[in-house]
């Protein structure tokens, strides 16, 4: 064995470490590239190549997972065992090969890699084949619009602050006496109504109609909290458009739910 073990890893292999699923994946790739017999791995060569690869990533100053170092340690351990004189084993050739366990792991991993490729090559739902769209909502829900981050309470408070800032004139609240009875329920129904026609709206859209009284802002805020709690809506923070807060209906027929809410209260 070890006919020409000093060939170095071809440059196309020197890519990012995360191109590999793990140390076993990298080892298999090294074995494949160098056309090595998996049952007779030139361990010092492969150790060297492995370490070279991992080091090249280290110099780019990336964090390396513990499993990569663990494999490095295992390779070095096997290598050192191989260097031990064989006299300990009286039957010469029958001594356990220190590489055996690693080879078995590589073979097993390779099998499941092939199995994974096998799955990937099948006609996959929502990628290659589709069923009746109305009937497979649970599948089509996997698609949807590009994902945005779910909003936290602090995102909501920030959005609230922006609206409050807008509502103040010269930094003061505008005090007004309104005859309009604004209840939590009526605001929830109002929001639900908007969401019936627009599945996703901006937080600011709720304050477009000019009524920016403190009472209105606070009630709207509470309504959103309550609707989130009832799982009628989801609050999202857009990744692309700064700190834009989005409100998205999370149930199909929000109108129906608001009607239930009405019945419940009356």
């Amino acid at each position: 064995m070890a006919t020409d073990p000093l060939r170095t890893t071809p440059p196309e292999l020197l890519v990012r470490l995360d191109a590999f699923e793990g140390p076993l994946d990298l080892l298999l790739e090294l074995i494949r590239k160098h056309e090595i017999d998996v049952f007779d791995i030139p361990i010092s060569f492969i150790t060297e190549e492995y370490l070279r690869f991992v080091r090249s990533v280290e110099t780019v100053d990336l964090e390396i997972g513990g499993e990569w170092l663990e494999m490095a340690a295992l390779l070095i351990f096997i290598k050192s065992k191989m260097l031990l004189p064989k006299e300990e084993f009286p039957n010469d050739e029958d001594g356990p090969d220190p590489r055996e366990e690693l080879v078995e792991r590589l073979l097993e991993y390779q099998r499941y890699k092939a199995a994974a490729q096998g799955l990937d090559s099948r006609a996959m739902l929502e990628r290659d084949v589709f069923t009746h769209p109305e009937k497979s909502r649970e599948f089509t829900s996997l698609l949807g619009p590009p994902p945005i981050k779910e909003a936290s309470l602090s995102d909501l408070l920030e959005a609230l602050e922006r609206v409050v800032a807008r509502s103040k004139v010269d930094g003061r609240w505008v005090y007004e006496v309104s005859s309009q009875q604004l209840t939590l329920r009526s605001v929830i129904l109002e929001i639900a109504d908007v969401l019936t026609n627009h599945p996703r709206i901006r937080f600011e859209d709720l304050f477009e109609h000019g009524d920016l009284s403190r009472h209105r802002i606070v009630t709207t805020f509470l309504a959103l909290l309550e609707m989130t709690r009832l799982k009628m809506i989801k609050l999202f923070q857009s990744r692309l458009e700064g700190d834009q807060l989005w409100i998205e209906r999370s149930i199909f027929d929000i109108d129906e739910v608001s009607q239930l809410l009405e019945l419940h209260h009356e």
């Binding site: 499993e67 199995a115 990628r127």
Partner: protein, 197 residues
Amino acid sequence: MNEQPTAARPTTDIDLLKGHLEAVFFAADEPLARTHISGLFPEEPPENLERALRQLKLDFSGTSRGIHLVEVAGGFQFRTNADFNQAVLRLYEVRPFKLSKAALETLAIVAYRQPVTRAQVDEIRGVDSSGMVKKLNELELITVIGRMDDIGRPNLYGTTQRFLQFFGLKGLSDLPTLDQLEIDFEMILENGSQEEE
């Protein structure tokens, strides 16, 4: 009864039955099992149903048909022809759903080794798989099917019905065996040994 002279040969019972089945498959939201189908047509002799199913499957097959009748997850279902996926994706205006390599590996291990613990998956992959297991669980492609009788009683995972639907498998036995897959690897081995004189 007066038959219309110009009418073509009246449809046979089988043709009529095929029409019924076609309607049912179109309206169904899940693959329909044989038992379910025969329950819908209790007066129909089983051999007629079987013949109609076979013919319908033949009708809805082939490269030029947009819809195929496929056997999946223990039932029959209408699915679009995979060759035309780009057209459907354009219709939906979305990118296709994709599973990462890591997710597919984890899924393959669960599929072939079930019931299996997360630790066993980690061991085979040589990396931590908790994120992948969680994701596949959320996608309902795998699920907890029991607890291992061991320290900590870890969850045992297995694949779901949805897994079968997702990959268009009739059942788990429809997966190629690991031995079959090993043949692929034999080829790699042979390439390796060619190196030696």
